[in-house]
């Protein structure tokens, strides 16, 4: 049984779950106000930033601060609930497949779903940038060479948080408790990125990366370069520990 066919099985399991709509809805809802407000951006602002950059960053701000982590949490609930709803986890554990590997396959699916959302958001971004450009007669469209790396970075920065949420969901069996705890953990991101301890709070990583982009586009708003050093090791350690714990504890309650 190789890992890739396990992943394809895991994807099959979430058929008819309507998760695609849940992924799409926030992307569209996020850009509607951006289009409506696009007129304000072309007027003079107190901070010096190109309207096109401002459009991109303001649009992604809500996404990165709250919606990416929240999507991860909802997908976590989806993945754990499909397995528990009709005791199918029991069947899985009595099949010849390593439970740690099964856990990793599920985690991979957890990463694939927000990746789909990222692709959707690229599409919706360009669509709304195009519409706004027509409305305001100003070119809001940024080149792919800017948007793709930026969105890619937001996504990568969200991975440690995904590992944390996944660990919480394997440790806390009551789905609503694990989801609630994870959601509550996202709330203080705005506070955290202004402290020195933001490295220890994975839910604020994507927001931090966005703020760096903001800082690059508008001088004086935030720092302009990423503090790689305490961050990357911290992120790797957090991700690693969370994955090890979740693989070790996966299905432990069913195996008592």
């Amino acid at each position: 049984m190789n890992f890739f066919s396990l992943i394809s099985i895991e994807i099959k399991k979430i058929r008819r779950s309507k998760i695609f709509l849940i992924l799409l809805a926030p992307v569209i809802l996020m850009w509607l106000p951006a289009i409506i407000n696009s007129g304000k951006l072309t007027k003079i602002q107190d901070i010096s930033i190109l309207p096109a950059h401002n459009f991109f960053i303001q649009g992604f701000m809500g996404m990165v601060w709250f919606m990416i982590p929240a999507t991860l949490i909802i997908c976590t609930v989806l993945l754990t609930q499909t397995e528990r709803l009709n005791h199918s986890i029991l069947k899985m554990l009595s099949l010849p497949v390593n439970s740690g590997l099964l856990c990793l396959a599920k985690f991979t699916v957890l990463l694939i779903l927000p990746a789909i959302q990222m692709f959707l958001s690229i599409g919706v971004y360009y669509l709304s940038a195009y519409i706004s450009s027509r409305m305001q007669e100003y070119d809001f469209v940024l080149p792919l060479s800017y948007s793709l790396p930026a969105i890619g970075k937001f996504y990568l920065a969200a991975l440690p948080a995904a590992a944390v949420f996944w660990m919480i969901s394997t440790l806390i069996q009551t789905p609503i408790f694990s989801a609630g705890l994870s959601l509550a953990a996202c709330v203080p991101s705005v506070l955290m990125i202004n402290t020195d301890y933001w490295c220890l709070h994975p839910m604020s990583y994507p927001f931090y990366v966005l703020m760096i982009e903001y800082g690059k586009a508008a001088k004086g708003v935030y720092e302009t370069s990423i503090d790689w050093l305490p961050w990357i090791p911290a992120a790797i350690i957090i991700t690693g520990v969370c994955l090890i714990v979740s693989c070790a504890k996966f299905g432990y309650k069913e195996r008592k």
Partner: protein, 249 residues
């Protein structure tokens, strides 16, 4: 030759002992009927055989292999059906079986074969959530039979089926060792049912093994002990009652 053997197998949850000092001997190629009232420890024993729960004491081997060292090797050989049926409600019957088939690395035809064996072929494209109780039960059975594994562990497989269904499944189980070389461990709380299917019988009550042997042995042993033997169901009830009485003292 015994394909499954347990040696003083014990499972305790805190102060409650679900399975106590169990010594089972399951012959290769036989249908072994595992009999006992609800809560006697049948499911727990079966779960231990599948590595779903760890024994607190004692040991067992399946085809000379042990948990957890040979977990994958053991599970490859066992088709199982435990407790209430386990399935994905958002998938059709066929999709559910396809998942199991892929994990077991079986050819495509085995899904159709399992559907055919359990009589689910006409409803294979319906969502499992919308199945009737009997269909869910059959889906669980199909998930055990898929790929025709050499060992089958079936926990109360006829629960929730109608009389026709019960008869079908019983005959199916009875015929399996002849159809292809396999060993079946099947549990039930009805002696009349086990009587029709099993070659050997193990009777469990409160985690203790009251009897193990063939149907014939059971009759003669019961006769010697002064239990009624005209009706086997009564024999079984008398044995359990006697055991309960002894236990409550």
């Amino acid at each position: 030759m015994n394909i499954i053997e347990t040696n003083h197998l014990t499972k305790a949850y805190g102060s409650f002992t679900a399975v106590s000092d169990l010594n089972l001997h399951i012959r290769k190629g036989a249908v072994y009927g595992f009999l006992g009232p609800n809560g006697a420890g049948k499911s727990t024993t079966m779960k231990m055989f599948l590595g779903l729960t760890k024994p607190t004491d004692g040991a067992f081997h399946i085809d000379k292999k042990r948990f957890p060292q040979n977990r994958t090797a053991i599970l490859k050989k066992i088709g199982s059906f435990i407790e209430s049926p386990a399935f994905y409600g958002n998938l059709t019957g066929q999709e559910n079986l396809d998942i199991i088939r892929k994990i077991l690395g079986l050819p495509k035809e085995s899904t159709a074969d399992a559907l055919e064996l359990t009589g689910l072929a006409p409803v294979k494209d319906r969502l499992a959530r919308k199945y009737s109780l009997g269909m869910k039960q059959r889906l669980g059975l199909a998930g055990a039979l898929i790929g025709r594994p050499p060992i089958l562990i079936l926990d109360e497989p006829t629960n929730g089926l109608d009389p026709v269904g019960i008869h079908e499944i019983r005959s199916l189980i009875r015929s399996l060792p002849e159809k292809y070389d396999c060993t079946v461990l099947v549990s039930s709380h009805l002696l009349s049912e086990i009587e029709l299917m099993a070659d050997d019988i193990g009777i469990l009550n409160h985690g203790h093994l009251l009897f193990e042997g063939s149907l014939h042995d059971l009759k003669s042993q019961a006769h010697d002990a002064g239990f009624p033997v005209d009706n086997l169901e009564e024999t079984f009830l008398a044995m359990v009652e006697e055991d309960n009485r002894r236990r409550s003292k």
